[in-house]
Amino acid sequence: MSLLSLISPRNLRLALLSLGALVFLAPYIWMLSTAAKSREEIFSSSLSLWPHHWALWENLGKAFSRVPMLQLLFNGVFVCALIFFVQVVIAIPCAYAMAKLKFRAAQTMMTLVMLGLLVPIHATALPIYVALNKTGMLNSYFALSAPFFISVFGIFLFLQFFRAMPDDLISAARLDGMSEAAIVSRVIVPNAWPAVTAFAIFSVVAHWNDLFWPLIVVTSTERATPPLGLLFFRAAEAGDDYGALMAATLVVTLPLVAAFLAAQRRFIEGITLTGLKG
């Protein structure tokens, strides 16, 4: 009787969602577990989630000593910050102009933005690579970030957000004596935080985790981003030392996880704002 009463639609939903969450989390949990196991245990025939012999510090030590982990993290942070900053500086005025100003090329620009959304980086990778190579700029922060400076997705997202801002607000700002630049910096940006946060999530997550582009333009460890660094590590040093590799992965994923936990509320607000999930 009491067991039956537990089967309510609500509990069923919860159970289903928990199961889904478990499926998605399983690889990450396994990574955590492996990062804490010693080499012998990883290759032993018995599978267990909880390590018998605790080797997390050892593995972390190996990861930090064999890979320039701090350098990788710094590269990741620097490249992501640079990309995000330039994207916002370009996308916000652009989206403002398209959303609120009347000019003849507006329609054409809208079409171009739509087209831009359809073209993936993979299609333009080769010409950009050739150009960077010709100008001798491979293996640089610039090569890592420049192709992403103009984000059509960002323009599109801000455009949608700005369209919803009342025209009267901008009219009032003009009457109060603001120039268009002042309107952007004093009225639009301070009221666009939800959109900026949402965009930050997409931009930073995408470029922190990106492997495709760094793999193309970077060959040295000095400029490698974290995922690329891990790849080098696996190829060259770790060999079959999966404990150390997973410990390194843990370190690389930690900043995003920590950021998520710290700003969980804002993250979710941001994602629901765009109506997109990914």
């Binding site: 009219s171 700002a173 003009r174 109060d176 301070p190 009221n191």
Partner: protein, 384 residues
């Protein structure tokens, strides 16, 4: 020379003409109410006056200076929007200070950290704060100064928006239905306050509203707009008593003015129910006209007297007055009238009555809607 004027303003969006040759001239310290139904182009005209929009034709001038081509920021106009348009991220005090900050401080002085180093900025900022405090005090919103718009009621936001417009000395005030989001009580109260503020500031004002009572009660002159045309601009009493166009007569006044279709007979007379309502209408016999009579110019008399026989169809009690709806006997016309409660205490729906129209109460309009002049003024309603 008028303090602020709009001359021959026209504007079209595609094929539809939104504003058609509109001219309004406001004198020094004059309060002009722009009234008209929704969609007649009031906001568009105001936006053109502010420089936020541009007409296809016509000019805007302030104090004799042509400002048609000037940027809104250079015109020195203050506008209150229907939605208030307060900056959501700033407190009331900061909102009110924006127009002063943008005008009195240079771009460098407005910068976050660098600005502080510039000599003279501190004094100017103190002056701005002083002005904000004075304006806030005059609108009694001192206690709201640290609050953001999101934490204020509609009425409080409206006051902050007014304060932001009042804080500087503009060449003209433009207000676009600033009271339409307030409840009825607050609206009547704020009406009086705006008139008082306007009187103290002495700045010409264009005040948009779709509420004819608001327009009549506040303005020095009322401009009635319909479908992009300015039908009449006159003092409130002239607009009410002497409308130039049937649509003006119908739009102004509550309850609505009574309108009857009729044709003229011998001597330019219009006869209804055996009564000559009006005589001396210009034009040949059989000219179709429209007769308009204000509800308070019709008197209810016991049935059988000399007048227009009618039947009471409905009564509306409004406290200080009663609105009586009647059907005219032997015609599909109907009359609405306003009466004092004690005068109609005995009247009930279904009762036959006689209507007596005040002499000179009939306004005659031609088929084109324009007022038709009378050749002879009427003295007494005559029974034939």
């Amino acid at each position: 020379m008028s303090a602020f004027s709009l001359k021959n303003i026209s504007k079209s969006y595609g094929p539809s003409r939104i504003l058609d040759d509109i001219t309004i001239e406001a004198g020094e310290g004059e309060f002009i109410a722009l009234v008209g139904p929704s969609g007649c182009g009031k906001s568009t005209l105001l936006r053109i006056a502010a420089g936020l929009d541009h007409g296809d034709d016509g000019s805007v001038s302030m104090g004799g200076r042509d400002i048609t081509a000037e940027h809104p920021a250079d015109r020195n106009v203050a506008m209150v929007f229907q939605s208030y348009a307060l900056y959501p991220h700033l407190t009331a005090a900061q909102n009110i200070a924006v127009p002063l900050t943008m005008r009195n401080l240079s771009a460098l002085e407005r910068m976050p950290f660098v600005g502080r180093l510039i000599p003279g900025r501190a004094e100017r900022q103190v002056a701005i704060r002083q002005q904000v405090a004075t304006t806030a005090a005059s609108l009694r919103i001192d206690h709201l100064l640290d609050r953001k718009p999101g934490h204020m009621s509609g009425g409080q936001r409206q006051r902050v928006a007014l304060a932001r417009a009042l804080v500087r000395q503009p060449g003209v005030f433009l207000m676009d239905e600033p009271l339409s989001n307030l409840d009825a009580n607050l609206r009547v109260h704020t009406r009086a306050e705006i008139v008082e503020l306007h009187r103290r500031a002495g700045v010409p004002t264009l005040y948009v509203t779709h509420d004819q009572a608001e327009a009549l009660s506040m303005a020095d002159r009322v401009a009635v707009m319909m479908g992009g045309k300015l039908l009449q601009i006159d003092e409130p009493s002239r607009i009410y008593d002497d409308p130039r166009h049937i649509e003006v007569a119908q739009f102004i006044g509550s309850p609505r003015i009574n309108v009857l279709d009729a044709v003229t007979s011998e001597n330019g007379a219009v006869v209804l129910g055996g009564n000559v309502l009006v005589e001396g209408v210009a034009g040949p016999v059989g000219t179709p006209v429209q007769i308009a009579i204000r509800p308070e110019r019709i008197k209810l008399r016991p049935a059988g007297g000399g007048g227009i026989p009618a039947i009471v169809s409905r009564l509306e009690f409004l406290g200080s007055e009663v609105i009586v709806f009647t059907r005219i006997d032997g015609s599909d016309g109907s009359f609405t009238m306003k009466a004092a409660p004690q005068d109609v205490a005995h009247v009930a729906a279904g009762m036959p009555v006689t209507l007596e129209v005040d002499p000179g109460a009939c306004l005659v309009f031609g088929k084109d809607g324009l007022r038709v002049p009378l050749r002879t003024p009427i003295k007494q309603m005559a029974h034939v």
